[in-house]
């Protein structure tokens, strides 16, 4: 066979080699985010087909609401010494008629923070059980793998926040200033915070196959994020150094937005600042998460 014939034969072979793929293309979704919904749905399915898990994830915020919210009745402290003033004091301190109502808004962000935290954990499990390795050998975009974790965590946390809100209202949250628009706005703020926080925790788990380390990271971050915010207590009574931390903590802005929108409280900052901050936080961390996945999401 002459060299030219050889060359022709070789190029013919190349064509044959890819002919199967050419047929396949017909069935293939060329969208760069294909698989995103499939992966998101996989995580969500684990949750909604398992009522026990759903129930367990609600217990903690409900216990906090019931025990913490009802036990720490800060209003009662004042009603003993100056009963006629207590209403005014509670309202000036908490911006609403009771500490319970104040805390209820904080509990919404609390439940989102805790759900977001576990989004990182599920990356670790997927790595350990080999599922992640399998996914990594498919042409699905690395960013989709990360965003699926984020989106499933966001969906889960918003549903949980909605249930917590209903329970809080049933337990006596002040609804005198609550509007449908206010509730919608609150969930928009929660949505942004959930995206940012889930991205953060997923990002921290990208390289990890060790769940103990991941647990340690979660505990290290979640309590400061919760306590160094206005979720449980007004930040204006905190020492000055702590207030700086409160002011960079996204949990504070989501809670602040929720209180303004649900309870009509005077805000820490304006609503537009709350939303700008949360939007920036969500975009920044999801972009960092996606970029990091290109580099670090390997075996």
């Amino acid at each position: 066979m002459s060299s030219i014939e050889k060359e022709i034969a070789q190029s013919q072979e190349k064509v044959n080699l890819d002919s199967r793929l050419a047929v396949e293309q017909h069935y293939i979704d060329p969208s760069p985010i294909h698989g995103l919904w499939a992966l998101t749905n996989r995580d969500l399915r684990k949750w909604y087909t398992n009522p026990f898990q759903l129930f367990m994830s609600l217990i903690q915020p409900v216990i906090w609401l019931g025990l913490f919210g009802k036990a720490l009745d800060f209003g009662a402290i004042f009603s003993g010494s100056a009963p006629q003033l207590s209403g005014a004091i509670v309202s000036s301190v908490f911006g609403t008629s009771s500490y319970f109502s104040y805390l209820a808004a904080g509990m919404l962000t609390f439940v989102i923070l805790f759900t977001a935290m576990f989004s990182g954990m599920s990356v670790v499990w997927d790595r350990r059980f080999g599922f992640l390795n399998k996914v990594l050998t498919t042409p699905v975009a690395r960013g989709s793998i990360v965003m699926a974790k984020v989106l499933s965590s966001v969906a889960r946390s918003l549903v949980q926040a909605a249930i917590v809100l209903v329970i809080a209202v049933l337990l006596g949250m002040d609804i005198s200033k609550m509007t449908l628009l206010g509730v919608a706005g609150t969930f928009a703020a929660m949505f942004l915070m959930a995206i940012g926080l889930s991205s953060l925790f997923v990002m921290l788990a990208l390289r990890s196959s060790d769940w103990q380390t991941q647990m340690a990271i979660m505990n290290l971050l979640n309590l400061p994020l919760l306590f160094a915010s206005n979720a449980l207590f007004p930040s204006k009574f905190m020492p000055e150094w702590l207030q700086y931390i409160v002011k960079v903590n996204p949990v504070s802005y989501a809670t602040d937005a929720a209180r303004q929108l649900l309870l009509g409280s005077p805000g820490m900052v304006s609503l537009s600042f709350d939303f700008s901050f949360l939007l920036g936080f969500a975009i920044l961390f999801s972009v960092i998460g996606i970029v990091m996945s290109w580099r670090y999401l390997t075996k």
């Binding site: 072979e13 793929l21 294909h34 919904w37």
Partner: protein
């Protein structure tokens, strides 16, 4: 059974995997050290070596899971570093561990896998059903994977590795940890799938018998280096041939005459028995019998033994195959790899 792949398949001569001086270092450990080899379209290529030899690391690089430290590789004609996505579209991977999601059913697992390739749902459903039937899991399709046995899971992994109709399937220790019966069954499926889909298979294993009976060609890898590549027959004949043992009913010495026979390389006599090394044992044996008869003597006992891959392995690595698996060494190596990764 595998004969049809030789010659008749016109894809056979083009390379589907080309590897040039590929290396992967984890810190100081050279898990894979400058390996170079090719896999031809349509063949079953075996990657043989003990635990920790670098088999899985090589697969991880070729399947774009791990970036190489240096060197190059093209899989299905695409560069594993720069064109990883094109490679991923064309390959199927059946990893060593079970990767299926236990909370989903077999069907849901395959559907999920297919969606990650972007296959549209109508086509995918058809394909998933067909694959499940092929691996005999049609009846268990709607059961959660957590209720599957080891053999069933292995088959499910096989099926989901095939969902994108790959040209090249990577199988990392497909029979590891399975009992002998299940192992045979899994290989039977692999053979069947290969015929059905006309694929190239890249298989790692440390079961020598499996590599011997299934693979068209084998690479022996040890300490991250490829020490030998060839067909099982080539590797074995490289050892200096078959061993013929025979006993004659008379102790007169025929050593010199036997040595002159074609194919015979070496003759040793012990009492009235001979131990003969010959290149083609089956062809040499009748000639030897004829010679002995022509001297008026009788052969009372004869055996022809082919060398096994065990001996090949011993020859090229200097170690017996199973002696090598010192668990502490393998463990130490795993830990190094894990630390280097973080």
């Amino acid at each position: 059974m595998l004969g049809n792949m030789h010659g008749t398949n016109h894809h056979y001569n083009s390379s589907i995997i080309e590897v040039r001086e590929l290396s992967k270092h984890f810190g100081k450990l050279k898990a894979v050290d400058q390996i170079t080899f090719e896999v031809k379209e349509g063949e079953i290529f075996g990657f043989l070596g003990p635990n920790g030899a670098g088999k899985t690391t090589t697969i991880n690089m070729l399947t774009t899971l791990l970036p190489p430290t240096s060197g190059e590789a093209r899989v299905c004609g695409f560069d594993i570093k720069r064109e990883a996505k094109e490679v991923r579209k064309r390959i199927g991977v059946v990893p060593q561990e079970y990767t299926a999601d236990e909370d989903l059913t077999g069907m849901q697992n395959i559907m999920l896998c297919g969606e990650l390739y972007g296959i549209n749902r109508g086509e995918l459903e058809k394909r998933a059903k067909e694959l499940l039937r092929l691996v005999d899991l049609a009846d268990a399709a709607d059961r959660k994977v957590s209720s599957y046995s080891g053999g069933m899971r292995r088959r499910l992994e096989l099926a989901s590795g095939l969902v994108n109709n790959p040209r090249l399937l990577f199988l990392d220790e497909p029979t590891l940890g399975l009992d002998v019966q299940t192992r045979t069954a899994v290989w039977e499926y692999i053979r069947q799938l290969k015929e059905e889909y006309n694929m190239t298979l890249f298989v790692t294993t440390h079961y020598l018998e499996e590599a011997d009976s299934l693979c068209d060609r084998i690479a022996i890898i040890d300490h991250g280096k490829i020490v030998k590549v060839g067909s099982p027959t080539e590797l074995k004949s490289g050892l200096g041939g078959d061993v013929i043992q025979l006993t004659v009913d008379n102790s007169s010495d025929l050593t010199d005459e036997i040595s002159k026979i074609e194919f015979v390389k070496e003759v040793k006599k012990v009492d009235s028995s001979y131990r003969i090394k010959a290149e083609k044992g089956e062809e040499a044996a009748p000639l030897i019998i004829e010679l002995i008869r022509s001297k008026g003597l009788h052969v009372t006992r004869i055996s022809v033994t082919k060398p096994t891959l065990d001996e090949v392995y011993l020859e090229y690595t200097g170690r017996a195959f199973r002696d090598d698996e010192d668990p502490s060494r393998v463990w130490a190596q795993r830990m190094t790899m894990r630390r280097a990764r973080a």
